[in-house]
Each structure stands twice: as C-alpha cells, then as structure tokens.
C-alpha cells in the first residue's frame, strides 16, 4: 500500500468503517511508515476536536413546546 491509499483509509479507520482486510493493510503500512503513523494520530485528534469544540445548541423552549402542541393537535 502506498501513502496516498493509506491516507484515504485512515479517514474510514478512525470511524471504525474499514473491512478486516483494509484494516490489516493499513496497520501493516502504519507500522512501516512513521509519517503516516503520525498523520493517523492527527486525524484522530481532528475528529475529537470537531466533536468537542462544536457547540451543541439547545432547541429553543418555544420550539419544544410547539412540537408537543402540534403532535397533540393532529390527534
């Protein structure tokens, strides 16, 4: 496997979406390529940072109430 293919697989690897064969190939490549191994660590961190730093807004109370009301009205 070359580094280009490894980069593509890394993205799916951090989501746990690789096939067994792909996963084995990537592990093999990462063990031999320190640059890709380092890139893989950064890719994992990017996913973490997105999850942690993206603010989750709460739905406005008026919206919550209107939905409860709407579903009651359709009965």
């Amino acid at each position: 496997m070359n580094c280009k293919k490894a980069m593509v697989l890394m993205s799916a690897a951090i989501d746990g979406e690789l096939s067994v064969k792909e996963s084995e190939e990537l592990t093999h490549h990462l063990a031999a390529c320190s640059e890709c191994a380092s890139e893989f660590q950064d890719a994992k961190k990017t996913k973490i940072i997105i999850r942690e730093r993206i603010v989750r807004f709460e739905a406005p109370q008026a919206l919550v109430e209107s939905i409860v009301k709407l579903t009651s009205l359709t009965s």
Binding site: K45, I48, I54, F57, I67, L70, T71
Partner: protein, 198 residues
C-alpha cells in the same frame, strides 16, 4: 359510540407517549442538524417543526427497533430539499451575529477536557471550529456533521444523503482534509507551528 371514541383516544395517547419517548427526545440533535443545513435559526425552527409534524403523521410507518434518530434526520433532509432546493428558494440570510451570540453565551460553560494532549488543537476556539466547518461545501460539511457530531454509521449516512457508502467515505476523507487545512490556518494565527510533530 362513546366507548369507541374512548378506545381510539387511548390508542392515540399511546402513540403520543411513544412519540415523545422515541422521537421528541432527539429534538436538540435535529435542531443542530437543521441549523447546519440552513445556517439560519428561523429556518431551522421551521424545518424541525415540519419534520416533527410529518414524523408524527407517519409514525406508524417507522420500523420499530430501528434508529429513530436516523429516521427523523432523513425526514428533515427530505423536507430541507423540498423546501429550499425544489423551489429554488434559498435559505434565509445567514445570521452570523446570532450564531456568534450563541457561542458567546455558551462557550464559557463548555468543558474543555479533551483526550488530545496540549497542542495546536487546544488553541482552537469553539467559534473557529464552527466557522471552519461551515466554510466547507455543503456535501462535505454535512457528512462530517452526521459522522463526527451525530455519530451515525456510514450506512445510515448513505441512506440519509442518498449516496453510496463509497461516496460517503470519500466525502469524509476529502472534507476532513479541507477542514484540517482550515483548522491549521487558525492554529497558525495562534502562533502554533502545525507542520512540526509532537
């Protein structure tokens, strides 16, 4: 007659209870998805409202035991397409000030604990990550949100965006690459050298 009405309303009550338990609990996730699609709080509210109305109407067709959140997201996405795409109507003007205000209200109470060690990732502000994500083309922004923030599987995302799993995978790869470059730009502004490794 009176008895029949009572039975029907009991069924309706069961449906309403189940809907609350299964569907309404996902309102915050749906609202966030709608905000990311429309980039406008008013449009997002409308979209969520319409989604729940439709979901309630067709709740009997929801396959019990499957992922209700994914089902709701799919309905919301379809509503979004019908509302803003089919009629070639653009979502309302992006209200950046309002979104910024949200951040200023919320960011102080956000936990900053992270598995990542202290490095350039740590220097990034909530608002910067948000802006970086929002600056991506929609096809990339959407899959990143569905995967990284909402935690859907590739199969669930593929179903929502009506594309093959391979396309989802490729969009995630390309989107993350773009996002990473933008995040590194912000980090450089904070004085971090992003090319060097820890």
């Amino acid at each position: 007659m009176k008895e029949k009405k009572k039975v029907l309303s009991a069924q309706e009550e069961l449906k309403q209870n189940e809907f609350q338990k299964e569907a309404v609990v996902h309102i915050n996730a749906l609202y966030n998805y709608a905000l990311h699609l429309t980039l406008n709080p008013d449009d997002a509210e409308d979209l969520v409202q319409e989604t729940y109305l439709k979901a309630y109407k067709f709740f009997d067709s929801f396959e019990r035991g499957t992922n209700c959140k994914a089902w709701l997201f799919k309905i919301l996405k379809n509503n979004y397409i019908n509302k803003f795409r089919k009629n070639a109507r653009e979502p309302g003007k992006v209200d950046y000030d309002l979104i910024k205000d949200f951040y200023h209200t919320i960011k102080d109470v956000q936990s900053d604990t992270t598995e990542a060690e202290a490095d350039f990732f740590h220097s990034l502000m909530h608002e910067e990550v948000h802006q970086a994500l929002n600056s991506l083309p929609e096809e990339f922004r959407e899959v990143i949100q569905l995967c990284d923030i909402e935690g859907f599987t590739y199969e669930e995302i593929a179903n929502m965006v009506e594309s093959p799993i391979g396309t989802v995978r490729s969009r995630l790869y390309r989107g993350r690459k773009l996002l990473r470059a933008k995040l590194e730009d912000y980090a450089r502004k904070h004085g971090y050298e992003t090319d060097s490794e820890e």
